[in-house]
Symmetry: C2
Subunit: 92 residues, 2 copies
């Protein structure tokens, strides 16, 4: 449970589930999240082995985040929860 605790962690996981993302793109995909929170959550997810951080040493700083195997599995395990939410909270 600790792995997904944090206000935005599940959202990050879901956003990343659609494909690898850069920091700024993630931020834009998650309206309302602050950079600090995104950065710290990303770091925790990385520490827990759910995402990988790939840094590209180019003139323009570029970092890509993507789900690891366990991260993808976690996302799948989270899917029923999303379905449940849609069914019982949104869909009546």
């Amino acid at each position: 449970m600790g792995v997904i605790e944090g206000k935005w962690k599940v959202s990050i996981l879901w956003a990343l589930g659609e494909g690898a993302c850069r920091f700024g793109r993630l931020r834009r995909m998650l309206p309302g999240i602050t950079e600090k929170v995104l950065a710290s959550h990303l770091r925790e997810l990385e520490r827990d082995g759910m995402v990988t951080r790939e840094e590209f040493a180019e003139t323009v700083p570029k970092v890509e985040y993507s789900l690891t195997g366990p991260g993808i599995a976690l996302n799948r395990a989270l899917e029923p929860l999303g379905d449940w939410g849609k069914r019982h909270l949104l869909g009546g």
Copy 2:
């Protein structure tokens, strides 16, 4: 997500998944939880329609909590998460 946020809520749901329970029994099933937290979480779960509270007017106070339909569905939706946890955190 708000429905399962709270340090002990998932544990309560799982405990209740094994059958209806009285307050004191729940407390004993969840070592470390305080009465205040159990009571407030139970109240939130009730408000969110996940559990029912049945009060029996006997000489000895008796209250039973049980999962509602959505509560049971939530529990099921939480199962994959439990499996994932066992697989990736405990089972290597």
